[in-house]
């Protein structure tokens, strides 16, 4: 996310490198066996790469050149040469395959482990924490950041192998001829330095491009999501310009990356080639003084050719380190998050309706206080309506009651027990909240209703019937087994709300909290739902119900009304009682009638005027 990127390391400096090595050490400790196999295979590959050059040097010096000089070759020598070449290649092949496979295995295992851990943490962290963190950021923590954190694991074994290879090669060359070795000791460090320079220049450009790629995607996502608004207000051209601005920035960043690559890639390729030419020059002079043989010369030159590619693996690791460090910090931040919601161990014995008590509860978002000391109670089996203006804190109150969030001050009690003293599963098992905006999972109708609860289909149908959702469910192509699509996209708003209601009812909750949960349902259908709930209560199978509502029909269902006014309880009592006592309440619930009356009066007045 952009805000964290500004503090992110953008280049390879010793501190970041140390931190990066620390991240790799975590992986090595977690998967020591796989890492050992990968590095072992890589070392085998390294040794056989140097070995290949040695073998070819010897074959040239002892078989090929003598045969050419003498004008004859022995079958035995040729066979031995061929076998040696193939044998070395065989071990090299094992090394390559093993290195690649185990390096991948390690990377994927670490990715999987941390994706699981991060998501598990998401499921443990309280809803209040989720409210503070945008979904897009959390998704990228579990996906892109985990991937970035472990990205250097892929080239790491190869890089370790290359270090081994360089040591073996250096020894081999020194053994051949110390003077030629000087060339190697110039070229190898130069390649390493060039790699470092490459990554130092590439990393900031690549980080910027990566950030802009995210930005382009965010703009597109938001713009398409708001497509209807863009269309109805005719803002397509302005939105395209907004997108084009980001896209052009991304283009320039990508071209900047291209410039760095374009300059340094050819240099990295040219340097070992110049090294071979230097070996030929120096080697010929040493040959003249008989300090080395032609076979040795071929061997060293060939070694340079073989090394020019693997040596880049050092650069690959360096390139991934800054991203890895950033990814790791973000992943750790989630894993180390302490914003847990402490639970007690108490349970809620019995199975009848619960008594609810809210005692002097306060809550605020950022600078604004939403609830400023709210107190009320609901006796078991009673229905209490919460009424208040838009933005008066009703939804906040519902999430406090089922303990999605804790109040800043005050207490919520269920059957006399502070919800903070209850066990982790006690509240969800006893209370069900149906939120204003129904959230459905990309699952079947059954899966969405049960959410993993083990209940027979009859219970599911019964809940659907109560929520007036049985009719359309029966009409779906696969009935209960119909998938509802991403966020329930295949259903209408009212249908989604009714499934969300069924999800609560199937649990036979002891406390049912409805947050304007039928706002998209037709009044007739809503009336049938309310009648069903009423019937349930009369049969003694009911729950204590807390319902946020505006409609008089819904409020009429309540035994008592709590009127919220500017974050406080403005009045409590029956509907009829409050109509009389509370002017604010009266204004709110009779708004329609008053408007109608005023219009009638106007009509009457203008009618009289017309008559006069």
């Amino acid at each position: 996310m952009p805000s964290t990127d500004t503090t992110a390391p953008r280049r390879v400096n010793p501190r970041v490198l140390r931190e990066g090595l620390g991240v790799m050490a975590v992986a090595v400790r977690a998967e020591p066996r796989v890492f050992a196999l990968a590095v072992g295979a890589s070392a085998l590959y390294a040794a056989t790469t140097v070995g290949t050059a040695q073998v070819l040097g010897r074959v040239t010096g002892r078989v090929v050149l003598p045969a050419f000089a003498e004008g004859r070759a022995t079958a035995g020598a040729l066979t031995a040469a061929a076998l040696a070449i193939v044998a070395v290649a065989f071990f090299k092949a094992i090394g390559v395959a093993g290195r690649r496979f185990y390096a991948g295995l390690m990377q994927y295992r670490m990715q999987a482990a941390y994706r699981r851990a991060v998501t598990r943490r998401y499921l443990e962290l309280p809803a209040a924490w989720h409210q503070r963190h945008p979904a897009g950021q959390l998704l990228s923590n579990a996906n892109a950041d985990v991937e970035a954190a472990w990205a250097p694991l892929a080239p790491l074994p190869m890089a370790v192998g290359v270090l081994v290879m360089l040591v073996i090669a250096a020894v081999a060359i020194v053994l051949v001829d110390p003077v030629v070795a000087i060339v190697a000791f110039c070229v190898f460090p130069a390649v390493a330095l060039l790699n470092l320079l490459y990554q130092r220049r590439l990393a900031p450009a690549a980080t910027r491009a990566q950030r802009l790629r995210g930005e382009v995607s965010e703009v597109a996502h938001e713009s398409f999501e708001g497509g209807l608004v863009v269309k109805t207000l005719g803002r397509e051209a302005a939105e395209t310009e907004r997108f084009a601005r980001s896209a052009r920035e991304l283009r320039d960043a990508n071209i900047a990356v291209g410039r760095v690559r374009g300059l340094l890639d050819p240099m990295l390729e040219a340097l070992p080639n110049l090294g071979v030419l230097a070996v030929l020059l120096v080697g010929s002079a040493r040959l003249e003084s008989h300090a080395m043989s032609a076979g040795d010369l071929v061997s060293v030159a060939y070694l340079f050719t073989l090394l020019s590619w693997p040596i880049r693996a050092l650069g690959w690791v360096l390139a991934d380190v800054p991203r890895s460090v950033v990814g790791w910090r973000r992943v750790r931040a989630v894993l180390d998050e302490r914003a847990a919601m402490p639970h007690g161990a108490a349970g809620l014995p019995g199975d009848g309706p619960l008594a609810l008590e809210v005692r002097d509860v306060r809550f605020g978002y950022g600078d604004g206080e939403v609830l400023r000391g709210v107190s009320f109670d609901a006796a078991p089996g009673r229905t209490v309506a919460v009424v208040g203006t838009t933005g008066s804190g009703k939804s906040t109150l519902t999430s406090l009651v089922v303990r999605l969030v804790d109040p800043e001050a005050g207490t919520v009690l269920l059957d006399g027990a502070d919800v903070r003293q209850l066990g982790a599963d006690a509240v969800p098992a006893a209370a069900a909240l149906v939120p204003q905006q129904a959230f459905l999972f990309d699952d079947t109708v059954r899966g969405n209703v049960t959410l993993g609860l083990d209940v027979p289909d009859e219970r599911v149908w019964e809940a659907l019937r109560l929520a007036q959702a049985d009719g359309f469910t029966a009409g779906l192509p696969d009935g209960l087994d119909t998938r509802v699509g991403e966020r329930g996209a295949t259903l209408s708003g009212g249908q989604r709300q009714r499934l969300a209601l069924a999800r609560a009812l199937v649990r036979r909750p002891r406390l049912l909290v409805l947050d304007d949960a039928t706002s998209s349902v037709d009044p007739q259908v809503e009336a049938r739902i309310l009648a069903g709930l009423r019937g349930l209560a009369e049969d003694g199978a009911g729950a204590t119900v807390l319902v946020v509502a505006y409609r008089k029909a819904t409020i009429a269902l309540a035994d008592e009304v709590v009127f919220l006014e500017r974050g406080r309880v403005g009045a409590r009592g029956t509907h009829a009682d409050l109509l009389e006592r509370s002017p604010g309440y009266r204004d709110l619930v009779t708004a329609y009638e008053r408007a109608e009356a005023e219009r009638a009066a106007e009509r009457g007045a203008s009618g009289e005027e017309a008559v006069r």
Partner: protein
């Protein structure tokens, strides 16, 4: 309805346009669409080939050193010096070519792809609402991000590699043939079967990576559920179920990755072994040829270096082919979007502009059916007089929202026509239409920007003062004053920092500030409390006096205040008249009203 809409019905609508189109045809069409790619392409390819030629400098130098510098007892150091100098210059020159080629390639490919991205983005917005909503949002975003990135990957890596590998093979082969054609044949005999085998491998690997991508999709969906559905998961204690799903998705993805990696891990050693066999063959056959006087020692040694030039093209071949496949598929999908004709098309310059002033609306025999669905509007006739305030009511599915969408030309009727001020709606320029007629949908989407910017979305020139006045006009000044940071209040992603009712207030203010002549409200105040709603209603009544206003509502309070009510039932207008008249007459409206006012 054009075929585009029918195609939009399935979730993958925009993908299948060109699924069977050949790769070459896609390439040709793609290149034709982005002329930037072709400009100077020949020079770039030439530079790439020159850069590739640098790779045979070393084998040539080795051959020359051995055959001419070291032959005849004492080394000819003068010759070696000169030859090394010439070769060093050649290496540096080819490196310079590589630099020039890279810079050109990045510049042209990025420029071309950026305009392709922007064009596709605009086209998505131009597609009809139906086509848009038939697609997964993520899929549409991919068309302008991931799919284009795949083309760019190929152009800057895979495609370049392909050209350079081909060049490398050709130049190495020519040099081999010049040195010794029998040995060249031998090397080819070793590598040609490998090339065929790799092609097979590549198909398997490609299928394996397709599975990896699918599993990645499952993984993202599972993680996303646990994040977006956080509140529901907690409220229902569904953590166990969700974490089982996540675990299954994570493991599925890991297993698919490991499988694909195992296949890739097998292709690499194969080329090593083939190269070793070729090298061994060259040594044996070359020595025999040399003994016979047909080959020099230097040329034989040069062959050992030349064989290594065959290895890297083979090792990268599967990766390059995968890149190519992905790029073609990505390109095809982007072209697929651009090929989808917007079925609700802007007549543009050829269209008519509406003059300012109250709007009259006329429906003439209008019918509509969603693609593949039953008819939802049957032969609707209606005239809505200028300056009238109309309420449209009816049960869910009665056709009232469809009526609004046809009226605002979010969709076109299947038969019949809609006229505004006597002009058929499909003859009105979008620039004029969207300025004169504005609809406020139920879920008023807000952008992640300050409150003021959201309200002036439809009229970006409006000042803070204008925005404040609009809110005051609507009776929302108190609400604004209650916000911690007033007009600068950030509304969060999708406006989620505000409550559902508050979002509707913002959407309403946004439409009001846009100052249309016909305002269409589709359940625009469904989450607002009655007192605020009636206050807004009164404000709108005064403000829209002299304009035409149409409200769709299931709260009948709106109907009570309207000049006239239109009642929909099962896709037909069944009643029409003022509220007081309809409420007193037995019929659909009286039934609705009874259940509403109970």
């Amino acid at each position: 309805m054009t075929t585009a809409v029918e195609k939009a019905a399935p979730a993958t609508g925009l993908d299948d346009t060109a699924e069977t189109e050949g790769a070459l045809r896609t390439l040709r069409r793609g290149m034709a669409l982005s002329p930037e790619f072709r400009a100077g392409l020949a020079v770039t390819v030439l530079l790439a080939l020159l850069a590739t030629a640098g790779r045979v400098v070393v084998p040539v130098a080795v051959q020359q050193t051995i055959d001419r510098g070291l032959s005849g007892g004492e080394p000819d150091l003068g010759f070696v010096r000169l030859m090394v100098l010439v070769c060093a210059v050649a290496v540096l020159l080819t490196a310079a070519c590589a630099y020039a080629m890279n810079v050109r390639l990045y510049r042209t490919s990025e420029s071309g792809l950026t305009s392709l991205r922007v064009r596709a983005f605009r086209h998505v917005h131009d597609l009809s609402m139906l086509t848009q909503s038939g697609e997964r949002r993520g899929a549409l975003v991919s068309r302008v991000t991931g799919d284009v990135d795949q083309i760019s990957n190929f152009m800057q890596y895979g495609g370049l590699m392909m050209i350079m590998s081909a060049g490398q093979l050709v130049i190495a082969t020519i040099l081999m043939a010049v040195y010794s054609w029998p040995l060249a044949l031998l090397v080819w005999a070793a590598f040609v079967p490998l090339a065929f085998a790799l092609r097979r491998f590549q198909r398997l690997i490609s299928a394996a990576y397709t599975r990896v991508r699918e599993r990645m999709g499952d993984l993202l969906a599972a993680v996303s559920e646990s994040v977006v559905g956080a509140a529901v998961i907690r409220a229902y204690g569904a953590q166990e179920r969700t974490s089982r799903r996540v675990d299954a998705a994570v493991d599925g993805h890991r297993a698919a990755q490991t499988r694909a990696q195992a296949m890739v891990a097998l292709t690499f050693p194969t080329s090593e072994l083939v190269a070793a066999a070729a090298t061994a063959g060259v040594v044996v056959a070359g020595t025999l040829l040399g003994v016979g006087g047909h080959l020099s020692a230097g040329k034989l040694v040069a062959f050992l270096f030349l064989v290594t030039l065959f290895v890297s093209p083979m090792q990268t071949a599967t990766e390059v082919l995968n890149d190519a496949q992905n790029a073609i598929a990505g390109w095809r999908r982007v072209l697929g979007v651009l090929d989808t004709a917007p079925d609700v098309a802007d007549p543009g310059e050829a269209g008519t502009s509406l003059a300012r002033g109250p709007i009259e609306v006329r429906f003439e025999g209008v019918s509509f059916a969603y693609p593949g669905g039953p008819t939802v509007l049957h032969d609707v006739d209606a005239v809505i007089a200028p300056r009238s305030r109309i309420a449209v009511v009816g049960e869910t599915g009665s056709g009232k929202t469809t009526f609004a969408k046809l009226l605002t030309r979010l969709m076109d009727p299947a038969s019949g026509r809609v006229l505004v001020d006597g002009v058929p709606l499909d003859r009105v320029r979008f620039s004029s239409l969207r300025e004169r007629i504005v609809m406020v949908p139920q879920d008023g989407f807000l952008f992640d920007a300050p409150l003021a910017d959201n309200i002036r979305f439809g009229r970006p020139g409006a000042s803070d003062e204008d925005v404040r006045r609009a809110l005051t006009d609507l009776g929302l000044a108190d609400w604004l004053d209650g916000l911690p940071r007033g007009l600068d209040t950030p509304v969060g992603q999708r406006g989620e920092s505000l409550s559902a009712g508050e979002r509707q207030l913002v959407a309403l203010a946004r439409a009001y500030l846009a100052d249309p002549d016909l305002l269409v409200l589709d359940e625009a105040t469904s989450a607002v409390d009655p007192a605020t709603e009636t206050r807004i209603q009164r404000a709108l009544d005064n403000l829209t006096r002299g304009r035409t206003a149409i409200s769709i509502a299931h709260r009948l309070s709106t109907a009570e205040s309207a000049d006239e009510v239109i009642v929909f039932d099962a896709g037909r207008i069944v009643q029409r008249g003022p509220h007081t008249a309809l409420a007193g007459t037995p019929g659909a409206y009286a039934d609705l009203y009874a259940s509403w006012s109970r």
